[in-house]
Subunit: 526 residues, 2 copies
Amino acid sequence: MVNWNNLDTLASFQTLTNVKEVDLKAAMTGESGADRVKRYSVPMAAGMAFNYAAKKVDDDVLEALAKLAEEAQLAEKYKELYNGAVINTGEKRLVLHQLTRGQLGEKVVADGVDKREFYVEQQKKFSEFAEKVHAGEIVNAAGEKFTTVVQIGIGGSDLGPRAMYLALENWAKKNDTLKMEAKFISNVDPDDAAAVLNSVDVAHSIFVLVSKSGTTLETLTNESFVKDALKNAGLDPAKHMIAVTSETSPLAKSADYLAAFFMDDYIGGRFSSTSAVGGAVLSLAFGPDVFAQFLEGAAEEDKLSMNENILENPEMLDALIGVYERNILGYQATAVLPYSQALSRFPAHLQQLDMESNGKSVNRFGEPVNYVTGPVIFGEPGTNGQHSFYQLLHQGTNIVPLQFVGFKNSQIGTDVVIEDSTSQQKLCANVAAQIVAFACGKEDENSNKNFEGGRPSSIIIGDQLDPKALGALLAHFENKIMFQGFLWNVNSFDQEGVQLGKVLAKRVLAHDTDGALKEYSDLLNI
Amino acid sequence: MVNWNNLDTLASFQTLTNVKEVDLKAAMTGESGADRVKRYSVPMAAGMAFNYAAKKVDDDVLEALAKLAEEAQLAEKYKELYNGAVINTGEKRLVLHQLTRGQLGEKVVADGVDKREFYVEQQKKFSEFAEKVHAGEIVNAAGEKFTTVVQIGIGGSDLGPRAMYLALENWAKKNDTLKMEAKFISNVDPDDAAAVLNSVDVAHSIFVLVSKSGTTLETLTNESFVKDALKNAGLDPAKHMIAVTSETSPLAKSADYLAAFFMDDYIGGRFSSTSAVGGAVLSLAFGPDVFAQFLEGAAEEDKLSMNENILENPEMLDALIGVYERNILGYQATAVLPYSQALSRFPAHLQQLDMESNGKSVNRFGEPVNYVTGPVIFGEPGTNGQHSFYQLLHQGTNIVPLQFVGFKNSQIGTDVVIEDSTSQQKLCANVAAQIVAFACGKEDENSNKNFEGGRPSSIIIGDQLDPKALGALLAHFENKIMFQGFLWNVNSFDQEGVQLGKVLAKRVLAHDTDGALKEYSDLLNI
């Protein structure tokens, strides 16, 4: 039996507030620091590891966090979720994104369908479709092969798939598995669609329209934009478009598309990268095998998340430390800092994943909570960030916990030796140096050059950013956020906060406004 | 006589803490809201306006802010700065980036040189160079025209110029003034340079090496990367590279470059977009005339910043409201939300500009301050952000002030009518709707659908994002940040917080490590 209680009602949370705060600077200095780096590490899938030595934890804090995990029933709640309970209470829905990549528990039947079978069937369908496109069996009206795939979607239909594409584009080129270049249209700003269309050869492009409901206004608008461009080029849009949607949407059985692939209401947009939402475009871009490896990495990480021992469960541990930082240490933001240019848009995806899931003020029963929930998430790749906002992270008046990611090897492998080291070694040296600089600081007589230290970070280290590692990385953050939602007792799977803006925008477009809204509309010439 | 005092020692700041907090929801509802939108607006350069109706201010707060501006001597301090005082006290340097676009006050002579003349001369030099490249007078070894320009730089030599290029790329295409495509290499991650080099035709590319000191390790490493690529293609690097640096740097008189253009120590990297750092690449990409218009917009905004009346000075007012939000209302972050896809990287540039300038814990005399300084800055273009992190902004447990930007017209002009409105109208309707949704909220019996409102925002509205508007927008934020630095009494023009990481990274590369640093180095295979 699972109990859903607010964080501040848990005895173990009260205990945690009384555990002595770790002096990170002292702990990370000398032999103690070396010992922590060796001990405070959890293996992840794809040969990666989550190292939390530079977090403000010690064995006492970890023991208290373990008790919190137990009292909050994190493992049991995850089990409920993957066995098909109605975890999304607001919308009364199951939460099944993990089923797109593996079967963790019991068979889940919903709407009379075995959902694992359904997702596998969809994967098979879009895999076969992609293979036919690559083989030249599905071609344009002139009988020519398609060379480009353009995803039309917004939010979860854009950020995740785009970040994943960019993460693997160079890896795929290097490994001769880049089948088609991918582009993305998302913003309702007409310059977004126009610029992307100007940059592609529409006659050799397949467009993937992604909207679960089939009613997302931005996406349907951009679809029309694309159809106009196709018609203007003398092409038949129906021969250039596929749809990713739910079976009940108006797009599902339309003759306007070459094919339709399905997701369902049990997969939230921001958790849909491993469903057809990411699967169609990534399989077209990289081939179905690469997408399958990506799913494999995610599935392996999902399994690690089942572990009841927090010291063997990277996602649960990361989640617990984050809640400790947010609700006891009082930190308001978290920076995600991948030392990998390929992960340039991964922070933007996590920004949605985290802030849209846990940026809530009411618990899963709709009652206001008395504690802070999801933090602000932001980030850019290192080393670029070092030359930008790290100044504030090192010497600003607020402490921002940091989540580093680093890989031993580059994707392309071209490198140069300057001052006896490769660029890849410089990249890795920088992330190692930053962790220690943030944790230990450095005293200086000139207070302008003084670093107080005590600024916590963790790092995920992998061999190389390949499809499997990327899948594991994605699942790590998805599951971390899920566990944090359990701890805060919020519903991480709805997003009611996006509705009011939509309603008011419709009123503006219908010229049904008064007061301030009318004035702003006038100022903007609407 | 200018006095540099800490914010909390000012009587007007203490008075401000006692002014009644505005009930934003009530103020923005009905006729009061309409009245505020009309009244609370300041004209900016290039026909734009800064509208602060949805900020938590009223005439009482504004009066108190005006007194704070007076006591903090904001106008006088700006005057000191543009007349050539040593405002960057840490590095004992003048702060002259405004001189790159106009002469605001007295002649500034430093190192025996009239600095305005010096910057104008540099602009003339890179303009002439760009024109010769465009005219085919400067060509590659085969006598062919260059088609692409690639900037090699990091931090301020990358984020600003890159954001400005992206902001105007489509405008330039539409207005037939895109002379060369621009690309950027910044990260020491070897995959960054390798991917950019794979995407360009090196035989027809000019590379702009940007490093003020001529010693930035990431940039010199990437230069070698590029030189290897040129040599491997059988090309002479010296025929393909130009340098932007200071006159005293090792790059200044080197035969390795076709030409060198100069900046100096009085222009901080993050404030260098209007110097040769942005000027060379943007003049090559768009032509010198477009760059001149960009400077003109910035110069006009700089003049508005001179106004002593805060109600006629958009930068000073924005700065004061920001400090009120940070130090009295207690907000820790600010989101920058341009409703313009062309401004996709503008928030990343502001992130550096703001966080590196004011993320400090000591005042300009090196004494610790007792109040918070620069906030965390993050943002993405709307409408994309609406489908991502806006959930937290609307319903999260912490309030995040918002800075919107919107334009009445798109850049490319291609559009589509769906449900009786164009995409551009939908874009504008969304930003109008969001401001009101954040300010006024909406009560709902279902607390999950309840919006408490009271979440403050401002908006900068322009006709179209053209070079002049972009220049004004950039100068707005540069000057806002400068005024905030004056208020917090910090030195906004140094960045000592980036040094420690550099020192430790060098130790890692020299294998001169112990303790935690050695362990991390081992984990990362360095």
